[in-house]
Amino acid sequence: MNSKFELPQVSAKPSDLIQGISLKAVGQPLKRKEDLRLITGQGRFTDDFSLPNQTWAWMVRSPYPHARILRIDKHSALALPGVLGVFTGTDCSADGLKAIDHSPVPSTKYDVKLRGPGDTPVFVGRHVLLPTDKARFVGEAVAMVVAQTREQARLAAEAVSVEYEELPWVADTEQAAAPDAPRVWDDLPTNVLVDATFGNQEATAKAFQEAAHVVNMKTRINRVTGVPLEPRAALGNYDPSTQSFTLYAGSGGAVRQKRELAQVLGVDAEKVRVLSFDVGGNFGTRNRAFVEFGLVMWASKKLGVPVKFRAERTESFLSDYQGRDLITEVSLAMDAHGKFLAMKAHNLSNVGYCCVSLSPLSKGSGLISGSYDIPYAVLRSRAVYSNTMATQAFRSSGRPEVIFAIERLIDKAAHQTGMDRIELRRKNLIKPSQMPYTNPVGSTYDSGEYEINMDRALAIADWSGIEDRRAQAKLRGKLLGVGMANYVESSIGSPKERADVIVHEKHIEVIIGTQPAGQGHETSFAQVTADLLEVSFDQVFITLGDTDIVTAGGGTHSGRSLRHASTVIALAAIDLKAKARQILAHHLKAPLESIDFIHGKFVHHSSHTQLSWFELFQVAQTADLPAELQGGLKIRRDNEMHTPVFPNGTCLCEIEIDPQTGGIEIKNYVAVDDVGRCINPLIVHGQTHGGIAHGVGQALWEQCLTEPDSGQPLIGSLMDYAMPRFDNLPSFKAEIAEVLSPTNPFGIKAGGEGGTTPALAVIASAVEDALLPLCGPVEIPMPITPVKIWTALQKAQKN
């Protein structure tokens, strides 16, 4: 059964779908169903799978950022022990393998519409498994060796001789956008692939003319990488008897990988089975197919044996999809009282060597005005190719970037005008009475109590005691700073989801097409299902990640999973109860209206019949039922839901800087996050903590640095890429606000990304506040390392 579930039906509210449902499991901090296997070493990560006669693949990677491939000599490698094959882009072309179609341009009706220069279609490059013409970034696979052992494959890869002609290259975002920059793709006149402008230009220009204050800022959101601790891996197998492929590969959605990889291989989707069980971290990094996924399946067919690949950490640093890398120039116009009148923004996103996702640029573009009522805005969004690994959505795709811009701009406005930074925000926050609120670039925020969030966070952080603590810190020779940021973000994501709800002898199974990487879907979806069907949490099990069982589904990204899952499960529960009543009515030869569903039992009063789901399961097995009720007590439901939701909140952070070293210690970190309905607070808090770590990591330590003279990435191991660790993060004070979203039955927003979204801004704000007495307002580029702070302090001392 298909249905489109959209809000504006006459008088019907999404929450009507769960009317009368008593919430028992929902809202409880229940322990996770996932944990037992993971704490006993029984997890099922990709590299945990092995097949008989399995062989190993190793990639030969380009050492140059941009080079023409002149010749690849396989002979020496093929002569080495255990080597079964060496494959190049020419071999892929000869077999008709196609480029991966990532569909990178967001296309739901709520996404801003990104276009190429001069309103042309966006040219997205060709993401082939192995290139035939050129290598376009350091680390691009140009050949694959398959051998009987991993060590043999590694040694043979070193023996593959590739003759390159080095070409001019560009890695830096602004340099890549220059008209005379070396071109990554000859198909385009420059590297600029997106150039689109949104908003009301005339009204914005007028507001800027009439403004009492104009504040300008230019900032760079550094490039980072996801570093999921499970290195990406893939195990491919071809079965000649069924002419079908099997791929074990952790990702952000097996159904998507199946569809895209079948296209690459040139076979029907049903000829590819993808298994993605436990996934060792994703954060967006794994949401797009990697070339090795297609390569291991193809090589398995060519060689007649299963082929496995597991990246070394160095390969992950070079060729996992990376994130952020945005330059933003923003301006804010205010009247004499601090009321925001209009803003202008110009965002330039570096997509790397080919375009796998424009989600970060698109998502950010829809939120440039943040949590504030700004009547007019103009935004120019551009994206540019460069000779670097492709960028993709990374936790809270696009939103930390724009929240950084607006929040830092407000701090700057406060300094520039002498107004209080809290009061300036308070004056301009969107009020609950304005909801639903349409922002100046057309995004409609569903709900939220922004000022209440802010006041709650200020109270938890003991804002009024700051000056006392600052004075105490000064006595200890430390500079105390407090940062603050409000945020709003959008959760959109793939609009379709499917649930199969199946009653078994002793449990209820829900099959669904999301793909967790630690978010606890098996637990929170079971909580939702248990309440909807009035069974116990222990009786519900969720099945995910095998495309032979999970036939459809949108995967996990953009905070979509719980909102989509709870909605489609709510719809399925209604259908399943209806079917169950029909089965019992038929069985008892009673009128349908005489069957009630009370406290988890199907009740027929006149015959004193009371059957649980599991008793009715037996009836459904044995009763003589008409065709439409046969096949067991189960239901399949599809749903399509486009309306986005807007999680929001406030974050405060207190730091101390040691002026002798520039070292920073985070003393206190407070987050208030409106996630809509919270299904499991244990899980939501965990998501917040992890999200904060990603944001703080980017602000203080993380950076995918490219050596400017050579184009070589300078991150090759965990020694080069600094990350959040036990000893550089504090414990957090995270609180949940639940302002129910009117857009879906349970009122869910999202909880996975709110920790990250304001964290960049709040750290920069805290550093600036700490340095203010000595340096005045400063913007230290991220990552804000001790040496940069120390240098700023030295400079201030000299002046």
């Binding site: 006993t40 290195p231 990487a517 903590h689 990350m723």
Partner: protein, 164 residues
């Protein structure tokens, strides 16, 4: 090739392995104990930590021949049948794992840490001592809580001997 004798999770193991075989390769590929994970290949992430004679060791940087005659404990050897070890229970109760990939190494390092300290651990000590294990999901907050809690329970239950 080298013949090695050792005990893994109290089981006697004798194997003939190539000289360059790493302990983690012996565990995962020869013995099928896939609970111990390779996260970085270079001794930096701690996903591969096991106990060798009760001491935490990063098994990605130890040769299998180097543990000749030793007792190796992996995550699979923590529970006693269906009775979970207190460190496992604490990780579950405090939601100290999300994706679960770092968790086995994290628990093994934590066990070593608890055993090395005569008193229950403080959060400060945990944060300082666990620095060699990385987690990308939890922000460490709940792992610190879990390890402190496990140390309290283990000390209360059996202060004399904390061997797993």
């Amino acid at each position: 090739m080298a013949i090695i004798h050792l005990q893994v999770n109290k089981q006697v193991v004798t194997k003939d392995v190539p000289d360059q075989t790493l302990l983690i390769e012996l565990l995962r590929e020869t013995l099928g104990l896939t609970g111990t994970h390779t996260g970085c290949d270079t001794t930096q992430c701690g996903c591969c930590v096991v106990l060798v004679d009760g001491v935490s060791v990063k098994s990605c940087t130890v040769l299998a021949v180097g543990v000749q005659g030793c007792q190796v404990t992996t995550v699979e050897g923590l529970a006693d049948g269906t009775n979970l070890h207190p460190i496992q229970t604490a990780f579950m109760e405090h939601h100290a794992l999300q994706c679960g990939f770092c968790t086995p190494g994290m628990m093994m390092s934590a066990l070593d840490l608890i055993q090395r300290h005569p008193q229950p651990l403080t959060p400060e000590v945990v944060r300082s001592e666990m620095e060699g294990n990385l987690c990308r999901c939890t922000g460490y907050h709940n792992i610190v809580k879990a390890i402190v809690s496990a140390s309290e329970k283990m000390h209360a239950a059996n202060p004399a001997s904390l061997a797993p």
